[in-house]
């Protein structure tokens, strides 16, 4: 069934179409939610909220652009709302300058990690870094847009991103070193 037909059937309130749409996008969308949160349970909560919004706001989808992209945008917004509503995340949403801890780097290491390992690494970033990194590197938001979304200046977004990137690269390189060491030790 095409996305268009699926949407029409969902709009008619057909439960089987709703189920099918959910099945089609749930896994990839949980992947999105997973990157913004710190636990799978929270990610599932966001996914649940997101899909409720998708089904109730289906009439707003104008068949312009891909359905998957539209759903993904809803998931990202839902995740951001979740972070700001949830005290656990909100209180950790600091954007302090921590230059000494995470010096900026321009390197572009090759990522040999599995997707899940990389996602887990992103989730290890401080909350502010994690959010900015997800929005810029993966969703493709500009720093100005991120500034608007998070209520920060675009300069802050830029610096937060640079530090998040540096921290992540250091972890990736470290992981790569450990993997190599293990490999040699095994030989």
């Amino acid at each position: 069934m095409s996305d268009q037909q699926l949407v029409k059937d969902c709009l008619r309130g057909k439960p089987e179409a709703q189920r099918q749409l959910y099945e089609q996008y749930a896994e990839s969308m949980l992947g999105v939610c997973y990157r913004y949160t710190k636990s799978l349970r929270d990610a599932e909560d966001v996914l649940q909220d997101g899909f409720v919004k998708v089904f109730l706001g289906m009439h707003q989808y104008k068949f312009e652009g891909q359905l998957g992209a539209w759903i993904r945008r809803i998931m990202v917004n839902t995740a951001l709302n979740f972070l700001k509503r949830n005290r656990k995340y909100r209180d950790e949403m600091y954007f302090t300058e921590q230059e000494s801890l995470h010096p900026v780097t321009d390197t572009n290491p090759e990522i040999s990690l599995q997707a899940k390992d990389l996602a887990n690494m992103i989730r290890q970033l401080p909350q502010g870094y994690q959010t900015v990194f997800n929005l810029h590197a993966i969703e493709g938001y500009s720093h100005v847009e991120i500034g608007e979304l998070l209520g920060i200046s675009d300069g802050t977004s830029r610096s937060q991103y640079a530090r998040a990137r540096a921290l992540l690269i250091s972890w990736i390189e470290k992981d790569s070193q450990e993997t190599k060491t293990k490999k040699y030790a095994g030989k």
Partner: protein
């Protein structure tokens, strides 16, 4: 935008990344969709009910008006009955009823040729005052004693006067008829202002004349019919008494009950499903530009705004006019002033001009803005909304007891916002600014409540009111609406 290899790799890896959700997620999603749809339905059904009630009330009113009109306008079939009687009844009866008759004169009525054929048609189009039927210019003083006395009218020609015990309701203007018919031979066809609902009197006569009837505007359309009224020429004919009854109750019903109303409550802005009244609203839906809650103000180490929206005081005062439609339904019209407010937390008022240019407020220069200080301190701020209001609604008596009654009151109101202090969030300030051009000034509200009337001339009514026009003309996120709960008290001014 990601500009180098690292970002591309991350993006690619994350595109592949999938996590299978547990089965409970779908179950919860399904349940919540159903629940929300049910809530939406619950929220809107009072409105549908009100519309239905309005239609029903309209029909009732219309019927009511017809009933009132019936005996007065001559459209009621039952009102025009002239029983066929023995003509040998004594004249005293008529005299007692105040009706002048002169039977002897009818004998000599000119123009009646004894066959009842119409010799001439002379419409009487101005005789629509309805008490006596057109056909009956005869037997009265105004007819110069040239017509038979079988058909009579009330002496003074007025509506609603009971003339005699034997009800014969006749419809026409006496003077006009008298005038017209005095100039027309009795055999002429006279067109009185009666409708198709009227019934021809049947009178025991030997000679008859056909009388045709035009409508009140003098048009002879399909509804106009020729009422064959047999004009009596027998000398011993006896006029039947005429009676037109107007129920006294009908007039009483039309009185409007006036009352002064005052309400006090709590109001806020809620999402379109009406949620978020007591727990405070999610901030994301209220801001105009920027600010998602997970950032910081520049120079601050933590997130401060935009604020949650809390409920605040509301009140209203006005006049209400109500009128009984029937035993259970009452129509209510109102006019007055309403004040709604909500509370938010803002920074300090800035003492300078600021240029605002965001997705909603373009090129606005304002001095009305509030920004957070370096410590992120906040102050309470009241968004105020002042309205003038016109309303119409229905009250349905659901409990009718000797000591206790309960009415279910629903109304629709048009409210015009004439003053507001509402602020909007802009992440680039960062803080709040005022721009009243963003507000929808014309608002429609639906209010539902239960009213408990007391003997002493006042009523208490807990109510819930919802503005189904969005607060803002346009906005980011889902639309917000005014909501108000409280208690209204009505003091009856002309208690009966």
């Amino acid at each position: 935008m990601p500009e180098n290899e690292f970002e591309k790799q991350v993006q690619q890896k994350m595109e592949e990344f999938r996590v299978r959700p547990s089965a409970e997620v779908w179950t919860a999603v399904e349940e919540r969709i159903r629940e929300k749809k049910r809530r939406r339905f619950i929220f809107w059904w009072p409105l549908l009910l009100l519309i239905g009630g309005g239609i029903a009330a309209g029909i009732l009113l219309l019927n009511d008006r017809r009933e009132n009109k019936g005996p007065l306008s001559g459209t009621d079939t039952d009102a025009v009955t002239v029983p066929s009687r023995d003509i040998s009844q004594p004249e005293e009866k008529n005299s007692a009823a105040g009706i002048a008759t002169d039977n002897s004169e009818t004998k000599n009525t000119p123009g009646i040729n004894g066959t009842g054929d119409v010799a001439e048609t002379k419409p009487v189009s101005q005789q629509q005052d309805v008490t006596a039927p057109a056909s009956l210019p005869v037997g009265t003083g105004s007819l110069s004693n040239k017509a038979p006395a079988h058909l009579v009218k009330s002496k003074n020609g007025r509506k609603g006067k009971r003339v005699a015990a034997q009800p014969t309701t006749l419809h026409t203007s006496v003077d006009e008829i008298g005038k017209s018919t005095s100039e027309v031979p009795a055999s002429a066809t006279i067109k009185p202002a009666v409708t198709d609902a009227e019934v021809q009197p049947v009178i025991d006569t030997d000679v008859s004349t056909k009388i045709s009837t035009p409508d009140s505007a003098g048009k002879e359309d399909a509804k106009t019919f020729v009422a064959a009224v047999t004009l009596p020429v027998k000398t011993d004919s006896v006029a039947q008494p005429v009676s037109v009854n107007i129920p006294a109750k009908e007039k009483k019903k039309q009185a409007w009950q006036r009352s002064f109303t005052f309400s006090l409550g709590r109001s806020t802005v809620v999402d379109s499903a009406g949620l978020g009244f007591f727990r405070g609203n999610s901030v994301a839906d209220m801001y105009v530009s920027g600010g998602g809650g997970s950032g910081t103000t520049p120079g601050l180490s933590r997130f401060v705004g935009p604020s949650t929206v809390y409920n605040s005081t509301s009140f209203s005062a006005g006049m209400q006019w109500s009128k009984k439609i029937n035993r259970k339904l009452e129509l209510q019209l109102g006019a007055g002033y309403s004040y709604l407010s909500s509370r938010i937390k803002v920074g300090n008022r800035a003492d300078s001009s600021r240029f605002i240019n965001n997705s909603l407020s373009a090129n606005l220069v304002t001095r009305d803005y509030y920004r957070y200080d370096s410590a992120g301190r906040t102050n309470n701020y009241r968004n105020q909304y002042h309205f003038i209001s016109l309303s119409a609604g229905l009250s349905l008596r659901v409990v009718q007891g000797k000591k206790f009654s309960l009415d279910w009151v629903n109304n629709l109101a048009y409210r015009r916002l004439f003053f507001s202090t509402m602020l909007h969030y802009d992440g680039t300030i960062p803080g709040y600014y005022k721009d009243n051009s963003l507000l929808n000034r014309n608002q429609f509200f639906f209010t539902t409540g239960l009213s408990v009337p007391f003997q002493k001339g006042f009523a208490l009514e807990p109510y819930f009111s919802y503005g189904f026009t969005p607060v803002l003309k346009k906005g980011n996120g889902s639309a917000k609406h005014y909501a108000d709960v409280g208690i209204r008290i009505s003091f009856l001014l002309n208690k009966k």
